[in-house]
C-alpha cells in the first residue's frame, strides 16, 4: 500500500514538474505547480509530517500560488517566445543537468541508508512541532516574524505608484 501510494504521487509530482518546465504559457505552469505541491503534501503525510502537509496545502498551494496566478493575470502574461537562447546554455545546459542529477542520485543512495519508510512509524503532528518551535527554535521563529514584516514593507514600497 505504501509503495503504491508513493509511486502514484511520485509519478504525479514528476509529471507535473515536467509540465511546469515545458508549458509555454505561465498559467499552465502555475496550475501544474499546484499539482506538484499537492502530491508533495500527500508524500509528507506518508512520511508522518502531518503539520507540514497541512501547511504545504495552506501556504504553498493556497496562498503563494494564488499570488502567482493573480500576478500572471494582472500582467496578462502570454506565451513566451523560444528563441535567442544563449549558446552557453544550449551547449552546456543538458550535460550539466544530467551530471547534477547523477551526483544527487549518488548522494541519495548514500544518505538514504537502509531506512525504510512505512506509514505510522513516526508521526509529528502540530503538538510536537509546536513544542520544538516555541522552545528550542524560539529565536528563529521570532526572527521569521521580522522577515515577514520586512517583506510586507518591501512589497508595499515596490508596488506603489511612482512618485513624481
Amino acid at each position: 500500500m505504501d509503495v503504491i501510494l508513493f509511486l502514484i504521487f511520485a509519478v504525479l509530482a514528476v509529471g507535473c514538474a515536467v509540465n511546469v518546465v515545458l508549458q509555454p504559457h505561465p498559467i499552465a505552469s502555475a496550475v501544474s505547480l499546484i499539482g506538484v505541491m499537492g502530491s508533495l503534501a500527500v508524500l509528507y503525510l506518508l512520511l508522518g509530517a502531518e503539520f507540514v502537509a497541512a501547511a504545504q496545502v495552506i501556504v504553498y498551494a493556497g496562498a503563494v500560488m494564488v499570488l502567482f496566478i493573480f500576478v500572471i493575470m494582472l500582467l496578462n502574461a502570454g506565451r513566451e517566445e523560444r528563441r535567442g537562447r544563449s549558446y552557453v546554455v544550449r551547449l552546456l545546459g543538458l550535460p550539466l543537468l544530467v551530471s547534477l542529477l547523477g551526483l544527487l542520485a549518488v548522494l541519495a543512495r548514500g544518505l538514504g541508508g537502509d531506512t525504510a519508510v512505512s506509514f505510522g512509524n513516526f508521526t509529528a503532528g502540530a503538538g510536537e512541532v509546536g513544542r520544538a518551535l516555541f522552545t528550542r527554535y524560539l529565536l528563529p521563529f521570532e526572527i521569521t516574524s521580522l522577515l515577514i514584516l520586512v517583506a510586507i514593507l518591501g512589497a508595499m514600497v515596490l508596488g506603489r505608484k511612482e512618485i513624481d
Binding site: G48, F51, G112, A132, Y137
Partner: protein
Amino acid sequence: MQAVPASWYLALSAVLFVLGVAGFLFRRNVITLFMSIELMLNAVNLSFVTFSYQLQEVNGHIFTFLVMVVAAAEAVVGLAIILAIFRSRGTLNIDQVNSMKD
C-alpha cells in the same frame, strides 16, 4: 504494509530539484523562472522531511516550516519586483532586461 526505502524519497527530491534547475536555465519568462525557484525549494523540503523521518526527530519539520515562510516572503517581494519591471519596461522576457550588460 510494504515499506518504501528512504532513498526513493531522496531520489524523487533530486529529480524535482534538477527539473527546477532546468526550468530556471531554459525558460525566458520571469514568472516561470520564479515558479522554478519554488519547485527547487519544494524539492529541498521533501528531503528535509525525509531526513527528519530517518532521524526520528522533529527538527527537519521546523526547517521545512521556516523554508515555507522564507518562500512566502520571497514570493511577495519577488512578484512586486516583477510588477515594477513590467511597469518600467513593458516586458516579462528576461533577455530584454539587460541594461546592466552594456
